[in-house]
Structure formats: C-alpha cells, structure tokens
C-alpha cells in the first residue's frame, strides 16, 4: 500500500497553472525523485502535500485514506515532514529550541528543556546525525543546519520525508553523506520524496524518478532504465547541450591583481585571510568553494562595496583597493551580483531605469544632474534587443519580468557597459536551462573579446563549463589552483572542504564511509 498517493492534484495561481492534474504515489521504504527545472511546479506540489498551500482540485491519500491537509500542523500529525530549500530555522535560537518548536514538551505551558534536550540527543544518536543541542543555529555550517532540519522532522514523527533541493548548498562530500543518511532513514522504514533539478543526483539516490515540466508530470522512469541525457530531454522537453562550446583562450595582460587581501564579514570576523589572485584579459578565473568561505567578501571588496582591512586590489595597475562602488564602476569593474532581487535590480523601477543604474551620473544619460530621457530610452531599447529581454517595452517594471529576463537585464547592464573586468557571482542561480545557456554564452563572449572575468560559483558544473583556471577557496584562503580540466568534482570537493593539508579533514559523519562505498 502506498504511504502517500496524489490523485489529479491541481493548483492554480492567478494566471498560472502550477500543478496540472498531477498523480503520483510513494511506497513505504521508497525514495522517489521529483525532477524538474526551476518553476516546473515541484515545490508547489510538495507545499500542497505539506499543507502550506491548498489545492484547487484532486485528492490526497495518506496510508490509503483520503485526507484534506489544511495546515503544516495537520501534515505533521499525519507523519509528513519537509526539509525546505530555504531552511526553516530560527537563527538566534538553539538547536534544541528549533527542533522542539511547535511540539515542545511542557507542563502547564512551561517548557521542560531537560526533556527536550534528552529527546534531541536520543534521535540524534539513533539516526547517527550528530549535533550539539545547545549551539545557536547562526553558529552552525549549512550542512549542520540541514541536519537540524532533518532531526526536526524526525522529532515530529515524520514517516514521509520531503527534501526540497537538499543538495543545492552542499559540497560533493556532504552530498554523499546526505545520500547515506537518506538510505539509513529508508532502512528505518521512512519514505522519501527528493526534489531536485540535478540529473546525477537522481541517478545516484532515487528508486524511481518522476519528471515534471510546466506543472505537469511528463514521465516516470528508473535509474536503471535511463541516463542523464535522456533525463535532461524529458526535463526540458528538447535536446540539451549540456556544455557550451568554448574557444581556446588567448590571454592578454593582467587586468585584476589582488594581493594579501584581508576582509572582515558583517559580524566583524575575518572572512578573507590573505588572498592573492590575478585575472588576465581573455580568461575566466573561477573561485570554487562552499558558500560562506569568503567568496562574498572578496567580490564585495573588488567591486567597492566592502572595505578590506589590508591588502591591495589593482585594476590594470591602478590601485582601487579603497575605491567606492561608484568609482570602481567608473574604473571599469562590472558586477553581476549573486542575488538579483536584493542587489541586482530595483524591482519597482522600469527596465530602462534599471539599465542605467550605475551609469546614471554619466553622459549621455545625465548631464550636470539632469537626466536625458531620450538617451536612456535609446540605450534601453538597444540593449533589450541585444540581450534578448522579452518585454513589450522598456517602460515595464522589472518586477513584471520572469527570473530569466530579470537576469538578462542585469547582464545587459553590466556587460553592456563594456567593462575591463566582469565579476560574476553565481550568475545563473535559480534560472532555467535556456537562461543558463544564455548567461554562459554572454560570459564566454566577454572573455573571447579579451576582457577579464572573475566567476564565483557554488555549482561545480558551471565552473567546469566556463573556467580557464579554478581557484579553490576554503576558510578565506585560496588552497589550490587548477587549470581547466585538471581536476574532477571529487578532487575539487576534497579541497573545498579543507582537504589537502589545511587544518580540517573532510567531516565524516557516522554514515560517511557507507556513502563512499556506494559511489
């Protein structure tokens, strides 16, 4: 009997059918992967199952009984747990407080913290998920936080566990550990729904693969019956070139030169500890690393958003260490920020207004503080065509564009400025395959025209597709350098987690060894 069954689930948002008559079932002790691009409707579907959204049609069965799940509370009571892509953890609270939140052991409303702590330790020991119950979430690594999320679901008594893009923030080693954890959970009788858009992962972990596209279930298969190419075709609906063509590099003079860079993060802790790197014209240098190892701080100091504590940054020999964001733009540094909604765009501005951001004080867009609307409009119209922004007019608000088109606006602005150096931080995060291809081609074009590109990415796939040289960063230091094609993902992952002589060996959980064996 299926532990979970969805029959013809339909969910409509104003103007969009997010889930179109989706039916699927999950057997006890099974791992199914829900595969699809960003926006295919996977998360919406699981939010319906978890009671965060109500569906507009269809039926849900848990253990064969039809249920109407009205709230997460209800879902939890039915034994459904969910680990969200963006962790649902309260940063200043402790691990224990987060795990018991909503289901606190208490007498007359007073929390019994001793019992709570004991229960957390029990579950943690039983599933081999080690945590310090008294740490605050904000002091934990991302992998550790995910562990807390899983423990939270287990504490709540989950028998069905939904994991939403769980590997997005993990290193290859952490991913293998996670897979091992998932298998041990299944051995304990749990059933798992694994949401992802990464093809290798579904091949590695899933018993059964369900592919979603545009809100519909478009296929079902097993890892033994398919390969990544077949899966990609099913997911995107056409043949996909998994790798963009790349011309051999023709290196020019050094454009960016960073030396002895030390930078502090927002909390005042040293995040970058003596980084030296250089980027020449016509090459793409990529910084590979786990999120939070100082990449953000390096990028922000190069583009003038953060003051380094020591070290120098030179652009074509000119010292820009203490340049403001404005003078750094004027010196020829462009920046595709990692978060387009927070840093890249002003959503309430029109496309034209967004396209001149950063150049708005310069001729021809303004002279002596007065704007020149005709020049702005002409530039905007040109770039909309050049960069294929799908919009009826340059007067449309940025908020009205799709994610891919929004990123095209950012790329159009930053590359259209014709910079000496392009700093691209996670330039394809959250985009669909088509938009990723577009952004990659633009970045390569920039390189081929002799410009310097510094790429920061968490996606090893992206790094190996674009980079001419790869710098691995760990705890604020460049720990290893590779030429393109010199290292595979495993090797990169090894250095990304502090392997290769740095003080920390890759963290091995209780199930790490098993994960190794299964690869």
């Amino acid at each position: 009997m299926s532990v979970l069954e969805l029959r013809e689930i339909t969910k409509v948002f104003p103007g969009v059918v997010a889930n179109d008559h989706v039916s699927l079932s999950l057997e006890e002790g099974e791992i199914i992967a829900l595969l699809g691009e960003n926006g295919a409707g996977k998360t919406t579907l699981m939010n319906v199952v978890y009671g965060l959204l109500s569906c507009d049609g269809g039926e849900l069965l848990v253990d064969g009984r039809p249920v109407k799940i009205k709230s997460p509370r209800h879902a939890i009571d039915l034994g459904i747990g969910m680990v969200h892509q963006h962790f649902m953890l309260v940063q200043p609270l402790t691990v224990t407080e987060n795990i018991v939140l909503g289901h606190e052991p208490a007498r007359f409303g007073v929390i019994d913290f001793a019992t709570a702590r004991k229960k957390v330790l029990e579950i943690s020991a039983r599933y081999g998920l080690k945590v310090d119950p008294d740490s605050r979430i904000m002091d934990l690594s991302v992998g550790m936080q995910q562990r807390v999320e899983i423990l939270k679901a287990l504490y709540q008594g989950a028998r069905i566990l939904i994991l939403d893009e769980p590997t997005a923030v993990l290193t290859p080693q952490e991913v293998r550990e996670l897979f091992a954890v998932v298998r041990s959970l299944v051995n304990e009788g749990l059933s798992v729904v694994f949401i992802t858009h990464k093809l290798e992962e579904v091949m590695a972990v899933a018993d059964r693969i369900l592919v979603m596209r545009d809100g519909r279930l478009v296929g079902e298969t097993r890892p033994s019956d398919t390969d990544t190419v077949g899966l990609a075709r099913m997911m995107v609906g056409r043949d996909v070139v998994l790798r963009v063509e790349k011309a051999p590099r023709a290196c020019g003079d050094t454009v960016l030169e960073v030396d002895g860079l030390h930078v502090k993060d927002d909390r005042g802790l040293e995040a970058v500890r003596g980084v030296a790197l250089s980027v020449r014209g016509g090459e793409i240098v990529a910084i590979a690393g786990v999120d939070g190892n100082g990449q953000r701080e390096i990028v922000e100091s190069i583009v003038g958003l953060r003051k380094p504590t020591s070290g120098t940054i030179r652009l074509k020999g000119e010292d820009i260490t203490h340049a403001s964001a404005r003078s750094s733009i004027e010196a020829g540094v462009s920046h595709i920020p990692e978060d387009r909604h927070r840093r890249g765009l002003i959503l309430e501005f029109t496309i034209a207004e967004n396209l001149m951001l950063g150049d708005h004080r310069l001729a021809p867009y303004s002279t002596r503080g007065l704007m020149r609307p005709t020049a702005v409009t002409a530039m905007a119209k040109r770039r909309i065509v050049d960069y294929d922004v799908r919009t009826p007019s340059e007067r449309v608000l940025a908020s009205a564009l799709s994610g891919g088109n929004q990123q095209k606006v950012v790329v159009a602005r930053e590359i259209g400025r014709d910079p000496e150096l392009l700093v691209a931080a996670q330039p394809t995060r959250g985009l669909d395959v088509g938009a990723i291809e577009f952004v990659h081609r633009q970045i390569l074009k920039e390189r081929d025209s002799g410009k310097a590109v510094l790429l920061v990415s968490l996606e090893l796939e992206e790094i190996s597709a674009l980079a001419d040289r790869i710098l691995v960063i760990y705890e604020g230091r460049i720990v290893k350098e590779f030429a393109a094609g010199e290292a595979d993902d495993e090797t990169l992952g090894f250095y990304m987690t502090g392997g290769g002589g740095s003080k920390l060996a890759p963290e091995t959980g209780a199930t790490g060894a098993r994960g190794e064996g299964e690869r």
């Binding site: 964001a325 004027e330 309430e348 708005h360 009205a400 799709s402």
Partner: protein
C-alpha cells in the same frame, strides 16, 4: 506568451489610473461616510454638519480663500513627507522642522524689515529651508550612519524644537507686552494677500477674486510642488533618492552612496517642512508664538499618503485637507460638531490608503506571476 506581454501595458495604464486617482478618492469618500456615522451615533446632524463644512470651505470666495490659506502650509508639509517616502524615510517630525522654519522666518523678517521685498522674501524662505534642513540633519545622520529609526528621532526633535520656540518667545525674542510672541516682521517680508494684488475696481467687477486671507504663499507652494516633481523625475538626485527608497542594497551596488542619499533626502524633506513654517509666519501671523501651527506637520502625513507620494498629487490632497480644516470652524459653529471629527476622518483616510497599498501590491504580484510563467 506574447499575448500576455502585449496585454500588459494596456492593463497597467488602466490600473495605474485607478490606483493613482480612484483609490484615494474612494478612501476619502468612505472616511467621510464613517465620519457621518460617528456624528449620527453621537447625536449630531451629519447633514447639517457637512453643509456647514462645505459652506465654510467652498461656499464663497472668502471661504475658498480660507481653504487655500490652510492648504498652503499643507502643500509644503505634504511635499516634505512625500519626498521622504520616496527615499524610504518616514519624516514624522515635519512639525518640528516647521517650527524651526517659522522661527527662522520670524527672526529674519524682523532683521530685514528695512530691505525691499525682493531681497527680504527670498532670504526668509532660504533661511527657513536652512533651519528646517538643520533640524532634520541630526536624525538624518543618525539614520544614515547607525540606523536609528527616524520616526523616533524626528519625533523627539519635534518636542525639542517646540520647547525651544516656547522658550524664545518668552525669553530672548519676546516682543514687548504681555503676550508671549515675537515682534511683527517687516511689511516687506510679508507675503501679500491675493486680493490686495487687484485694484478695488477689478474686485468690484470680479468679486470671486475676494479670497479673504489667502496669500501668495499658495503660489510659492504650487511652484515648489512642480519643482519637486521635476526633481524626482528628471534629476539624478531624485533618481538616487527613489533607488534608495525602493532598494538600498541594489542602489549601493549601483554605486549610489546610501548614507549620503538618506542625509540629503531627509534634509530636503526638512527644508520643505521649514518652508511650511515660513509661509505661516510670512503670510498669516507675521510673528511666531507657542501654538502657531495646528499640527500641519502631522496632517502632512495624510496629505502625502493621499497623494501617493506624488508631488503633483500633493496639491489636490492638501486642498482637500485644507478644506476640511477651513470648514470645520463653521461646522462647529453651525452644527455644534466638535472640530476633532476632522482628525478622525483623517486617521480613517490613512488607514484605508495604507490597506489599499496591499491591493496594489497584490495586483503587481499577479502580473509578475503571470509573466514569470509566460517567460
């Protein structure tokens, strides 16, 4: 996909019109309705009250003049709050900056009594702007440098400013006599009443020009509304203010200095509020005293919200609240309804407009969802 795209500008233009004009108008109508219910419940004759209210605000040229008289400072405080909103700042303390602007005008008006009007008037206005800006400067710096919430700090500066004025009018700047007030400013520094610009013969012929106490400040106010509109739309100053107001992080990434933009914007807001005090001194009282503003700074918040932070929208919004204020006197006199009902109506308008912005946001989100699926 293309259909969705092509339908959008049309839709947006239509919705834009509804949102810009329709929603505030509807909010005001509902608020007046609620005001009527309150009057009715309290045993007053709402019909008579509104008749008196209308008579006192639009019933005669003189009544309309009173409306203009009240609208004049409200245009300035409305512009002040609206400009702050544009940069993401809530200048709740316009009242205090108004006091300082009034103080500067009252002081300079006495000092420059011997100067011709074309020298005195601009200096008074500039002085008031400087004083208002100065009063906003410390909250502005605290906001920009350490993030101290301007709602608390500008409010505190309002109290400090009021006590400062109340000391000066009994102390160093006190005019001879019993009443705590300053010396009357020179006639050349005064803003003339509109009707004095016309000859008696013209007024005989065109009696609707007898605007009573309304003064030239209204012209200055409208001029400033146009200037502020142009600044927001056509200058880098306004562009940067709006960028910071919408998304300071993205603005910073685009090379805009967030802290200096905040300081500039709050000081400009303060300067506008300072002008409000100046026109009250120069056009109405010719001196300053303890209670010379009847909360124009706070009413300016309602004005700015009804105007949807658009400087040109501030003009009709200020006229509306000016009319309510002008008519409320006659309303109390003829229908015996406490003038305070106006504050209640004002509050209800603010509630409705604040809630309505949600509807707007919701519409935007729908558009976005529709497009993100299409794209």
């Amino acid at each position: 996909m293309s259909e969705t795209h092509e339908a959008l500008p049309e839709q947006r233009r239509w919705m834009g019109v509804v949102q810009q004009i329709g929603a505030p108008v509807i909010s005001v109508i509902i608020a007046i309705g609620i005001g009527s219910v309150i009057m009715w419940v309290s045993g007053y004759d709402a019909g008579a009250a509104f008749a008196a209210l209308f008579k006192g605000s639009f019933g005669s040229p003189k009544a309309f003049g009173d409306t203009l008289l009240r609208a004049t400072p409200l245009i300035f405080t409305g512009l002040a709050v609206a400009y702050g909103f544009s940069a993401g700042l809530f200048n709740i303390g316009a009242e205090g900056q108004l006091f300082m602007g009034g103080l500067a005008a009252a002081y300079l008006g006495v000092q420059l009594a011997a100067q011709p009007w074309y020298a005195a008037v601009p200096v008074l206005l500039l002085g008031a702007m400087a004083a208002g800006a100065a009063w906003a400067f410390v909250p502005a710096v605290l906001k920009a440098r350490i993030g101290a919430h301007e709602v608390i700090t500008t409010m505190m500066f309002t109290y400090i400013g009021k006590y400062l004025v109340s000391w000066l009018v009994v102390g160093p700047l006190k005019a001879p006599g019993q009443i705590p007030q300053t010396v009357t400013i020179g006639t050349s520094a005064q803003l003339p009443r509109i009707q004095t610009l016309f000859s008696e013969a013209t007024l005989e012929a065109l009696p609707f020009l007898r605007f009573g106490r309304a003064h030239m400040g209204i012209v200055v106010a409208i001029l400033f509304a146009v200037i502020m509109w142009a600044i927001l739309k056509y200058t880098t100053l306004g562009y940067e203010a709006r960028a910071v107001g919408f998304n300071p992080t993205a603005a910073e990434t685009g090379g805009i200095s967030v802290s200096s933009t905040i300081i500039k914007a709050l000081c400009i807001s303060g300067a506008l509020a300072g002008l409000s005090g100046a026109v009250e001194v120069m056009g109405v009282h010719y001196k300053i005293f303890d209670q010379f503003s009847s909360g124009f700074g706070f009413t300016g918040i309602a004005v700015a919200l009804v105007a949807k932070k658009n400087p040109l929208g501030v003009i009709p919004a200020a006229l509306l609240f000016g009319a309510l204020s002008a008519g409320s006197g006659l309303m109390q006199l003829e229908a015996d309804v406490p003038q305070k009902i106006i504050s209640i109506i004002q509050a209800v308008v603010i509630f409705l407009i604040a809630a309505e912005s949600v509807i707007q946001w919701f519409i935007k989100r729908r558009q976005k969802e529709a497009l993100s699926h299409a794209g």
